[in-house]
């Protein structure tokens, strides 16, 4: 089961992962990553994620297809928020079901690296002094490069 969604409203990862796992009887393992808007010390009050309708969801669907083929997945759930998010709200949830843990864990790692710095999203943070656009960190680009053929 391939379930790729772009959501404009807050979501509860748990409400998606339960049914997703249940949809794959016979699986060996499910790996899930949930990213949330970090709060606390960094002074972030809110996050805005914008996207480009004609590219963003099709790009996520293509990424999901590639991950499914590359890691031999039984199923993949990929959900990404857009709009204004408050601290503590989930931004992204990727869950991969496979016969063995290796494929499930690697698929989540692969999808997150690509969603972070190779998917059509633009992120800005509101701090006390206003909005600031965020670019991927150098380590995000390095993480992405791991998946390229040598």
């Amino acid at each position: 089961m391939l379930d790729v969604r772009l959501l404009r409203e807050p979501f509860q990862p748990g409400a998606l992962i339960g049914p997703f796992t249940g949809a794959h009887p016979g699986l060996g393992g499910v790996c899930t990553f949930v990213g949330e808007v970090r709060g606390g010390g960094e002074g972030v009050e809110a996050l805005e994620l914008s996207h480009y309708e004609p590219l963003t969801l099709p790009g996520m669907e293509e990424l999901a297809d590639r991950a499914t083929a590359r890691f031999g997945l039984m199923g993949l759930l990929m959900v990404h928020r857009v709009g204004v998010l408050r601290v503590g709200e989930p931004i992204v949830c990727v869950s991969a079901a496979a016969l063995h843990r290796r494929g499930a864990i690697d698929a989540v790692d692969f999808c997150m690296d690509h969603l972070k710095s190779a998917a059509w999203f633009w992120k800005r943070e509101r701090r006390a002094d206003g909005w600031h656009w965020i670019e991927p960190r150098p380590e995000d680009h390095a993480a992405l490069a791991r998946w390229r053929p040598a």
Partner: protein, 80 residues
């Protein structure tokens, strides 16, 4: 005025607009002229991509937008 130019992410702030229209057909030079400075300078950055009619161009300087096409200006992304 039949090509729509869409500004994404930080280019929205840099250009001070979300979208604008330009005459068809629109090529690379026409695009640079239509968006003006400082956006035109940013478009020279290799990390800024351009999509036309829903497809990202492998070579943005080969842009040739037809009547009704949407041209998207895509700065470096940051998701997740």
């Amino acid at each position: 005025m039949t090509v729509r130019i869409v500004f994404l992410g930080p280019l929205r702030d840099i250009g001070g607009e979300v979208e604008r229209e330009a005459s068809a057909p629109l090529d690379w030079e026409g695009l640079l002229a239509a968006v003006g400075e400082p956006v035109a300078s940013h478009l020279q950055d290799a990390r800024v991509r351009v999509a036309c009619a829903g497809r990202v161009l492998a070579d943005k300087t080969a842009l040739f937008a037809q009547e009704g096409d949407e041209v998207a200006l895509l700065p470096p992304v940051s998701g997740g």
